[in-house]
Symmetry: C2
Subunit: 430 residues, 2 copies
C-alpha cells in the first residue's frame, strides 16, 4: 500500500463532522477500497471548542481556510464551507492553483463559478470532484459522467431538493397549506430559518445546472435555468392534482430539444403512475434518459451528514486511486457549445387555476382569451358553487408554447372577474 | 488526444450488434468522454454472412475467438459469447494472460470462475470489467464499487431478472397462470425457448453472487447462494398477496448478518408500498444499504442490446481513461473472508399456502405442527367453501428460523388432508 492520502477539511459543521466520522469508523474499509489509508490531518472551522463527537487532537488547525491549500502536508482539500463567494471560492481557487485536488459539496459555487473553476482545474491538471454537490449520497455525478458515458443523454430530471419534496408530501398527506407545513418543517430542522434558497427553487436550480452540464457535456450555465419555487402551490392545487391523476413535485428538468437545451426548475404535475411520483418526503431522485440505455432512475437521501459524507468519501477514494475524469465529462476542447432554449419557447401542457367570481359568462371570457392565443383546452373543472363569491376554476390545456401561455395569463389576470393572480403549473407526462 | 483504443469483439449477436452500433453512432461523444477514439478493429462470430445492420468491412475476422487475445493490434477484448465454460472462459483467460483488459457481459462466467479470473487479473495487473453482467445498463457495478465505496454495505437486493419480473407482472395484471404467461413471453421473445435459466432463478443468482462480492468486498461465492425460481408461484398466491398488501417479486438478497452473509434468490412478498414493489415488467432494480448513505435504489432496463451496449461502452471508456478499480473493489490481500450463512439459519416471516380438504379439524392438525416447531402465526385466511374438496388455506407466520419452517413444512406436506405440495413464499418487509 502507498502512503496515506492526507486530507484537509474546511468546515466542520454537520457534514464535516460526518466526513470525520466516516473516515474514522470505516477506516479499514476505506483503506481497502482506496488502496491506501485516507486520513484528515488539517482542518479549518470557526469554532475550535465545539464538540463534534469526534476527537480532533493531533490535527493542524487553521483559522483561515485558504491556508489549508498551502499546507505542504496536505494532498487534497475538502471544501464544506458553502456559499458561492468568500472563503469557499477563495479556497477552491487556491487549492487548484496549488495543484491539489479539490473535493467540494458546494453546488452554489459550482453552478455560478464552475465553468471558470473547471478551466483552472484542467489547466493545472488537477481533479475537481463534487459528488456531494447533487443528490447527497446518490452517486449521480458518477452515473452521468462515467456510468452512462456511452450514451447521448436526451434528458435528465429530478427531485433535487428534499425540503420542497418534504413540504409537498406533507401538504398532500395532511391536506394542509404551504405556510403551516413550512413552519413545522422549520421546527423539525427540515427547513432553514430563511428557507428561500430551498423553497424558491434556487438550490434545485444550482443542482440542475450541474446535472445538465454533465449530461450534455457543456460548461455549467446557471444563468440559463428558468427557476420557480413552491410558495404559490396551495392545498387546493394539490387536491385538484389528485383528482386529475397527478402529483405535484418540484422538478429540475434539462432536455435536449431542437431549439436548444431547455433547463428549468418549477412545480410540475406528474402522473401518479410515474416512478418519480412515488418518491416522497426528504428523498431525492434523478432520472436520466440515454439513447442506448433508455431511462435510468436513482433514488436515495439527498442531504444530511451521512449521505453527504458518503459522497465525499467516494470522491476521496477516486483521488486515492488516481481515477480521473474531466469536470464536465470531456476535456474543455471537446465540450459542447449547444445553445440554451429560452423558456418562452418551451412547449407543454398547463394546469391553470383561477379564483373567479361565480357568475355566468366568466368562463366564456377566459376561454375566449385562450382561443385568441391559439391555446386549446383539454379539460375544465369547477368544483363547488358560491354565487357572487370567488370559486376555483381549473383549466388544463393541450400542448402549447410557454410564450403564448404567458401572454394569455397576463390578460386573464386582468379580467375583473378573476380575483387572485392565476396559478400555473406545468404538466410533465414524459 | 491519444491514439484510438482498439477493441476486439467476440460474439456478434444482439448485444454485439448493439456495441458496434453504439460505438459507431455515438463515436464523437464516446471519443470526448474517453479522451480518445474507441474503435472495433477485430471480431469473432460464427456466422460471417448475417446482416447485423452495421457495416463490418475492414474488420479482422477470426473463427476462433481465443485468437483475438493474441492479435497484436488489439488493446482490449470484449467477450459477448456467453456461458461459463468453453470459448468464453478460454478467451477470458487468454486475454488476461496476454496482459490485456477484458470487458465481459458474462454473469455465469463471473459467478462461477470470477474468483479465479480476478486473481489472474490482479496478478497480471489488467482490468476485468463487467458493468454489463448485472442489471444491463443500470450502472450498478460502478455504484457499488466506487460510488458507495465509503460505506459498509449492510445489504444489497434487487429485481435481477427481467423475464421473471415480466411474468410475475403479467400474472398479476391479467390474473393468469404461470404456464400461460410463460408461453406468451416466449412468443414475444421475452423468455427463451428453454427458459429454465431465468425462471429457476439461476441467472438472478449469478448476478446476486457478483453484487454480493462487490458489496461485501469478498471473492464471488456462487455456491453459497440459495436459489429458488418462480415456477411454483400460482395465480392464487398472487391474489392472496394482493389481499395481504403485498406484491410477489423474484428478489436476489444479500445481507450481512451476525451469522455470516445471507445470499438468496427466491420469490418474495414485499409490501405494496415498498419502492421495489412498483418496479414492473422487464425493468430491473437494485437497492443498496450503506451505513452512511442509507438506502439507494437504481432502476432501469436490465437487458437488451441498447442497455447492455451502454454498460460495455462505459467499461471501455474507463479503460480508455485508465480508470482502474480492483475486481471486487479491493486488492486480493484486502478482501474480506466473511463466512456465508447457511440458509437454514435464515430468520424471517413466511407465507404458507396449502390446498386442504375442506372439513373440520384440518387447520387444527396444521397449527399443531407449527406450534410443536415453535412457529407462531400472525394470520390465517381461508377463502371459499367447498365441503369435501380441496380449498386453499393461507398461513402467515411471525419471524421464525428457516430450519424450523422447513421441518414443519415436511410434516405438513405428509398430512393426509393436505392435497398438494405446500407453497412457501418468504416475506421481506425491510
Amino acid at each position: 500500500m502507498s502512503r496515506p492520502l492526507s486530507v484537509a477539511l474546511a468546515g466542520l459543521g454537520t457534514v464535516g463532522g460526518g466526513v470525520l466520522k466516516l473516515l474514522r469508523d470505516n477506516a479499514d474499509n476505506v483503506a481497502a477500497r482506496a488502496g491506501r489509508a485516507i486520513a484528515v490531518t488539517a482542518v479549518s472551522a470557526r469554532d475550535r471548542s465545539r464538540d463534534r463527537g469526534v476527537p480532533l487532537s493531533g490535527l493542524r488547525w487553521y483559522d483561515d481556510p485558504v491556508a489549508l491549500a498551502a499546507d505542504p502536508g496536505v494532498d487534497v482539500v475538502v471544501e464544506l464551507i458553502g456559499g458561492s463567494e468568500g472563503p469557499a471560492r477563495a479556497l477552491a481557487e487556491a487549492t487548484i492553483q496549488a495543484g491539489k485536488p479539490l473535493v467540494t459539496a458546494n453546488k452554489a459555487l459550482l453552478a455560478i463559478h464552475g465553468a471558470d473553476l473547471a478551466r483552472q482545474a484542467e489547466k493545472r491538471g488537477v481533479t475537481l470532484a463534487f459528488e456531494a454537490a447533487v443528490a447527497g449520497g446518490i452517486p449521480v455525478i458518477k452515473a452521468l459522467r462515467e456510468g452512462l458515458a456511452g450514451n447521448r443523454i436526451t434528458a435528465v430530471a429530478g427531485i433535487l431538493n428534499g425540503t420542497c419534496n418534504y413540504i409537498l408530501t406533507q401538504m398532500r398527506e395532511r391536506g394542509r397549506e404551504f405556510a403551516e407545513v413550512l413552519a413545522d418543517a422549520q421546527k423539525l430542522g427540515y427547513a432553514e430559518a430563511d428557507p428561500s434558497f430551498d423553497i424558491d427553487g434556487v438550490d434545485a436550480a444550482h443542482k440542475l445546472a450541474i446535472l445538465a452540464a454533465l449530461a450534455f457535456g457543456r460548461p455549467v450555465a446557471f444563468d440559463h435555468v428558468h427557476v420557480e419555487g413552491i410558495r404559490r402551490v396551495s392545498a387546493l392545487d394539490i387536491a385538484f392534482a389528485n383528482e386529475l391523476g397527478y402529483r405535484i413535485k418540484l422538478l429540475g428538468i434539462a432536455r435536449q430539444t431542437e431549439a436548444g437545451i431547455d433547463t428549468r426548475v418549477h412545480p410540475c404535475m406528474v402522473p401518479q403512475s410515474a416512478p418519480i411520483a412515488t418518491v416522497d418526503g426528504v428523498f431525492n431522485a434523478v432520472v436520466a434518459e440515454g439513447d442506448f440505455v433508455g431511462r435510468v432512475m436513482l433514488t436515495g437521501r439527498g442531504a444530511g451528514a451521512g449521505p453527504t459524507a458518503s459522497a465525499v468519501a467516494a470522491d476521496l477514494i477516486d483521488i486515492a486511486r488516481d481515477r480521473r475524469t474531466p469536470v464536465w465529462g470531456a476535456a474543455g476542447a471537446a465540450l459542447s457549445s449547444a445553445p440554451s432554449m429560452p423558456m418562452d419557447q418551451h412547449v407543454g401542457c398547463y394546469y391553470l387555476r383561477l379564483m373567479v367570481v361565480d357568475r355566468p359568462g366568466v368562463i366564456a371570457d377566459v376561454t375566449a382569451i385562450l382561443r385568441d392565443m391559439g391555446i386549446s383546452l383539454e379539460s375544465m373543472l369547477q368544483r363547488g358553487r358560491s354565487p357572487g363569491e370567488a370559486v376555483p376554476v381549473v383549466l388544463v390545456t393541450h400542448e402549447t408554447q410557454e410564450g403564448a401561455m404567458r401572454q394569455a395569463l397576463a390578460m386573464i389576470g386582468k379580467l375583473p372577474t378573476v380575483m387572485e393572480e392565476p396559478t400555473l403549473i406545468r404538466i410533465e407526462v414524459s
